[in-house]
């Protein structure tokens, strides 16, 4: 199977997340992923988009979130870029620590790691964060 790529962007609105997740899972389905993998991709993309929209772009209607999907014979790569101030992933508290268990938020990154094979974060040279998630076939 040859490499295939698609790019699109959404506005920084919670309501925009569902449609983008759906586009990603359709793309992944066409790339040959089965139901269990698609569920994981759905979860991971939803969490990454929620982070980008809420914490990255802080719901700023003037900032978009860019999504790039690349499928190859080996894997699906999902790149999600926001235009926020960025953050240090090492400083995000572990939500499974007893003192954090009853917090209402902070579990998104844990979910992302759980549902794809690899999650990498980096700051974009022109601002914002990019998260790259890899789901192997």
């Amino acid at each position: 199977m040859g490499e295939k790529e698609t790019k699109f962007s959404i506005s920084s609105k919670i309501e925009a997340i569902d449609e983008a997740v759906q586009k990603a899972t359709v793309f992944a389905g066409e790339a040959g992923f089965g139901d269990d993998a698609l569920f994981g991709i759905d979860m991971a993309v939803r969490e990454a988009l929620a982070n980008a929209v809420k914490h990255g772009n802080k719901l700023d209607a003037n900032k978009n979130v860019e999504i790039t999907l690349v499928s190859s014979a080996e894997a699906l790569e999902i790149l999600i870029r926001d235009f926020g101030e960025g953050f240090d992933v090492e400083e995000v508290p572990d939500p499974t620590n007893p003192e954090n268990l009853l917090k209402a938020s902070g579990r998104g990154i844990l979910f992302m790691h759980n549902f794809v094979d690899k999650v990498e974060w980096k700051r974009h040279a022109e601002g914002g964060m990019i998260v790259k998630m890899t789901k192997n076939h």
Binding site: D18, F39, R46, L101, L102, K103, A104, G106, R107, F111
Partner: protein, 115 residues
């Protein structure tokens, strides 16, 4: 159709919420939050969430379950979970929240646990 439908039943002083749909960031999480707030406002503090027909929940939805749990506890009540799908059970295990929530597979057992 709404993302999450919540039907309410009463078993003595226990309120059972039969939830159907998705508890995700946005509408689904807000629907749960509003229902719990209203129940607490009405003095209903024993709440059983029937999640048997909830096929999908994200970290925001899990966060809303935790917020509901702490809000009810703060009022001296208790909130318990019934009929978790395997996927939700897995998510509660990943987040170590199975140690926090009282979880039941049988409604009768859940109801008698409130005594």
């Amino acid at each position: 159709m709404a993302e999450l439908n919540i039907a309410e039943r009463q078993a003595g002083d226990i309120t059972i919420l039969d939830m159907d749909g998705k508890v995700t960031i946005g509408e689904g999480s807000v629907a749960l939050r509003n229902t719990i707030r209203r129940l607490l406002g009405e003095g209903k503090k024993k709440i059983l969430l029937n999640l048997g027909s909830v096929g999908y929940i994200d970290s925001s939805g899990i966060g809303e379950l935790v917020s509901s749990f702490t809000a009810v506890n703060k009022e001296g009540g208790s909130l318990k979970l019934l009929n978790l799908t395997q996927k939700i059970q897995d998510l509660l295990a990943i987040t170590k929240l199975l140690t926090v929530f009282d979880v039941f597979e049988n409604e009768g057992d859940a109801l008698s646990s409130f005594d």
